[in-house]
Symmetry: C2
Amino acid sequence: MDYVSGATRLFGIVGDPIQQVRSPEMFTAEFRRRGLDAILVPLHVLPGDFDACLDGLLRLRNLDGLIFTIPYKARALGLASELGAQARVVGAVNALARHGNAWKAEIFDGLGCVEAFARRGVPLAGRRLMLIGAGGAGSAVGVALAHERPAFMRLFDIDTARSQSLVERIQSVSPATMVEVAVPRVDDVDVLLNVSPVGMLDDARLPIAADRLPAHLVVFDAIVKPDRTPLIRFAQESGCTIVYGREMMRGQISRMVDFFTSA
Amino acid sequence: MDYVSGATRLFGIVGDPIQQVRSPEMFTAEFRRRGLDAILVPLHVLPGDFDACLDGLLRLRNLDGLIFTIPYKARALGLASELGAQARVVGAVNALARHGNAWKAEIFDGLGCVEAFARRGVPLAGRRLMLIGAGGAGSAVGVALAHERPAFMRLFDIDTARSQSLVERIQSVSPATMVEVAVPRVDDVDVLLNVSPVGMLDDARLPIAADRLPAHLVVFDAIVKPDRTPLIRFAQESGCTIVYGREMMRGQISRMVDFFTSA
């Protein structure tokens, strides 16, 4: 039993729901691989308790960092005393690292997604993309995709104001990319990315209404639990190339542990 | 890596300092032995942050219990919505267990100490005892010792008011026991118990001024880190029988996990 002792440094992932997250085992394994006596635990925070919970958690002297997941990536911005370059454009954070008595924040989702495509050898430059979800993670992915200079991006979020806000940020990063806000459609795109919570856990819904997906489509789903979301199963049945949420996560973890330990 | 996942239930130990505590590994091992997906982590809370930290921690929906150590055993009483029988007499708690939206509290230190003596076959009834420390743990030990009907108890604490308060509680439990408050002396007692923080971690002090201890003395030190406190080393050199803090701790753990899981 050498996973936790009185001297172990604490990290946490804050979300609601929380039981589906994989960060606890993945980050704790990465800490151990680097020889650090540290652990990352799940922290289930209800929206009405967010301010009080975070005020309490950030006062723990042996807590060195937090990860934020749904629905807190935008709200966590207010906790930071210093914002990283990605977080400033995205307007959301998914990691907070202790820096003395201050907290540095950055968002790594977008970079992780782009890295997952790069490792698969799937180019994004000049391609046509359909992105579903413009919340914390969706915005981060959108901004990171924009840096790859796609030819066209169609955005959808149930909250149209969020989509509009992301359009502006994408165009500030990549003015040459055509961007529109519209309901999900894939007949004219190369890549479909789901960065909404539709399909998470026992949610049987698809984030897109379609009888079949084109076989040439590359389908990415940011959800890590279940592994095979309704969208992923639909994409498999349609013969599409699939990029999994866990591939995005792996790329992020190493960068985030760097961030936690260099702050 | 199966020690922590998104579904793992959280427990914590709250104290200042925290790095010396052994509860994280010991409780986590006991949870696993019972087949429970649960972990106990260290929570380093500074005195000025206690109220805000605890307000935040108790709102975490996946946190099912807390242990309190130095200096919070008296202060934690205010968090309980229901007090156990020992906690009511002692006026301190070392465990808080979720009971729906309420928190049940109890103190297990005293019982653990008495059990450690019983397992060693060292009787306490009719004996003469010197007890150092009348804080949270010291009071709990004092009250539990009183239930064993010793002939005499001498109490010492740097805070005399705490010693006086413990005298009254001991006499309410065992009116026949002679009790006095005086500086530590062991020439006329059978058992010396240190339940103060003197000797913890790098503290090189002895809790008692003496050139040598009588060889017939039984010496107990509640401190678990280091294993061999200055007092324990002194007792070994003097040829005394020694009862270790970890023996008290083992007795407590099983009872406390019962409490956490039955609440």
